[in-house]
């Protein structure tokens, strides 16, 4: 193994894993190429596109800009972990219902941005939804159906009672 490999303890989708990763790896590389969680995508590796968005301790984070050791011991949720014991996340169902995914490449990142939004703000306005996903580029959809889907998911999970 590469001499500059280190053991890092990651808590991904509720599971604690100790993995050997090259120290220069980003969280994105560790997820995709070490843990085999390829749902999270790489569209630029520079923090410009949002495809690599995952949730770290409740916040949306660009995994391509996060050194892997920075995630050590923190709660990381990826698209593979959005579903709960009772089935898929309301966002996933609403994305399907509203046709919010086309090629699906940006979708894992957008789902994570939106899930982090709804976790902190169960009934966001359309403007807040736009802002929350403004860092996630999507070339296929024109975004409208994504807003619809996030709104629908918010109604289902949050609603006025929060």
């Amino acid at each position: 193994m590469d001499p500059s490999t280190e053991i890092v303890r990651l808590v991904v989708n509720g599971q604690s894993r100790e993995v050997g990763v090259p120290t220069h790896f980003t969280l994105l590389e560790a997820l995709r190429y070490v843990l085999g969680l390829t749902g999270t995508k790489q569209g630029c590796d520079k923090g410009d596109c949002g495809a690599c968005t995952v949730i770290v301790d409740g916040e949306p984070v660009l995994a391509c800009l996060t050194p892997v050791w920075e995630a050590e011991g923190r709660e990381v949720t990826t698209v593979e972990g959005l579903a709960g014991p009772e089935g898929i996340h309301a966002l996933q169902d609403c994305f399907d219902l509203h046709g919010a995914a086309q090629c699906g490449f940006c979708t894992p990142g957008i789902l994570c941005s939106a899930a982090a939004l709804l976790a902190g703000n169960p009934s966001p306005t359309r403007e807040e939804i736009r802002e929350a996903i403004a860092g996630n580029l999507c070339r296929c959809t024109g975004y409208a159906k994504i807003y619809d889907a996030v709104e629908a998911a918010a109604l289902r999970t949050g609603g006025p009672q929060g």
Binding site: P22, H24, R32, Y33, G36, L37, T38, G39, T40, K41, Q42, G43, C44, D45, K46, D48, C49, A51, T78, V79, E80, L82, A83, I88, Q92, F95, D96, L97, H98, G99, A101, Q102, C103, G104, F105, C106, T107, P108, L111, I129, R130, E131, I133, A134, G135, N136, L137, C138, R139, C140, T141, G142, Y143, A144, K145, I146, Y147
Partner: protein, 792 residues
Amino acid sequence: MADSLIGQGIRRVEDPVLLTGRGLFVDDVHRPGMLHAHFLRSDFAHGIIGSIDASAARAHPGVVAVYTADDLGDYWAKGPLLVPPPPIEGLVFNEATAGPLARGKVRHVGEPLAMVIAESRYVAEDAAAHIVVDVEPLPAVVDIERSLDPEAPLIHEELGTNLAARVGQSKGDYAAAAGGAHLVVKRRFTYDRGVSGAMENRGIVADWDPVSEKLTVWDTTQAPIPIRNGLARLLGLMESQVRVVAPFIGGGFGPKIMMFYPEEVLVPWIAMKLGRPVKWIEDRQESFFSTTQERGQVHEAELAVDAEGRILGVRDVFIHDTGAYDPYGLTVPINAQCTLLGPYEVPSYESEFTVVFTNKTTVTPVRGAGRQHGVFVMERLLDFAAAELGIDRVEIRRRNYVPAGSFPFNHKVLFQDFADLVYDSGDYLPALDRAVEMIGYEDFVKGGQAAARAEGRHLGMGVVSYVEGTGIGPYEGARVTVEPSGIVRVATGVGTQGQGHFTTFAQLVGDVLGVGVDRIRVTTGDTGEFNWGTGTFASRGIVVAGNACWEAARMVRAKVLALASKRWGVAESELELVDGSVRVAGDPGRSMELGRLAVEANPLRGAVTPGMEPGLEATAYFGPASGATASGVHAMIVEVDPDTAMVEILKYVVVHDCGEVVNPVIVEGQIHGGVAHGIGNAFYEQLVYDDDGQLLNASFMDYLIPTATDVPSIETAHVVTPSPLNPLGVKGVGEAGSIPTGAAFAQAVQDALGSGAPDVCEIPLSPNRLWEIMEVAARSGARPGHAEGGAS
């Protein structure tokens, strides 16, 4: 029988996989022992290669191999000319395609010079930094209008010119028409270059299995079957030894139909040579240099009209930038030439285009593929003519539409599929009326705009029409199989990049066989499953492959009916296919699941009746004689901020005719995405090159594509004129949204600037550029001028 599946906005069958992160994309492929490729690319736009010394890179720990053009031996060959020029009289075409690694010269920044294969991508990139390349730079040809200057350096010396092509097409007598015209408007129009901007970069993984002697290639291509065929030829293998898989693709938009990219030629070859799997994934910056681009054209055009605004003729002379090479022939400029005619009757047309080489990335189709340029020129000419004649801009369009009863309508010029540009169907007035109503045209021109202006707000409206040739040949095929489990397998060769083909093809097949889409498995883009076809381009998936799927399903249905009618001794007309079974109508006792019938049709003993084939399976092909003509009207209202030149789109309306709609949610999504792409093009997407041919904005930080805050909500409505050229009556929709956006945007911005403003004849209209235009307006006393204090 349940309601028809066709026309329903059902959920996509591919979503459960994609939305949980389980969709396989090329970069998700990992093979044991896999090596990684990295390409060293030219830093210069133009130059002579002196020497390339890779010895230090070869000695770098972890490096397995380094190749330059010289190391490729006989394998080095120029790429194919994908689309030969059409048979147009007097046509000049100079072919120049690229080899996999530059030899002798580099002709654009990013042209690959060497390939490094190493144990990791990091090592490969580090080693590439140790390759010493000696290039003697030459002046670069950047400005497309200077490419043919006598002092311009030659890009391909062997051609003796930077001219790639010159093509003239005409009909009628334009000179006479112009001579007798009440008015001739002339303008110069420019449309600049952008990227396709698929979120997934290109990539390829190749794995040679020496035991089975089979090569498997995962490739981000829109055309897996031609790639398979070409690789077999290049590598000296039988086609059956090569399997090309285009798994889920993260957006295509045109450039992923280009073949062969250097990486596609080299990665499979090196994987075979080394006997180890090899992966290459393009990085985003690399993509800005090495993935093909589009859009640079300059038009000098004129429109002759009579006093009522009726079109007498159009003359258009334009230059098209093909970049450093022209592997895609003339598809893009011919699209521009033909699409200019739009939904209008144009009695005389004189069009000549010149294609030039420049020291920029090669140009091949990007969503719209030249059509937007033609639409932009025609629509703007109509706007200027209407303004000068004092005719309402909607009215001038109405007066010139091809009338509803005149289809098929032949424009008598040659289209990109080498056939006459014939519109198979259409009905333009209802679409215009609907769009005008939805956007609130009357209220806007009769007071809304003025009222806003009185409050210091500069609003403008754009209303434009377009026609789009879609769904051209040559053909696609599909195989439909009923499995013993009752699952229906559908395999077709087109690749899919997010268009929802898995769902729409399932709808078509399910409708014929009476099977729910949850029991249908569609495979696209895997030559191991189906290996006849061409690819996804020209908005043709649903038209060509869709009809093939439907026909194959009908053949299976015919088999089911024949077998069941024999089995139960009833007429076929008494049978129905419902819920995955065939049954005698009204007789629940005589019903059989299709899966069981499939087993019966493939017996282990006894005989398969002569004339029947075993099993429930059929393969069908569909090749339309010519394209299905989609059309539509886009309308938008914008607000221009006179202080910042920012433009906000307040309302956007699309009325579209894509024939019969298989899945309205998917169609709407395609339109939304196209419009968003078109807005990016119209507003700010522009590749900025300096005089040395260096691209100055090669990242999504510097090259902006629309974000969630830029795209307005889009209202859509449909007019349906079924295409008579295919049994389903469908037309393509993939590119439509992006085609008229620039024209609508420019008209709306012009309208917002008000009378006396300079002509808006270019795309993109970034706030910077618009500011300059407004400065001129302000100085000449026209509104709106920030110098006057702007909005109050």
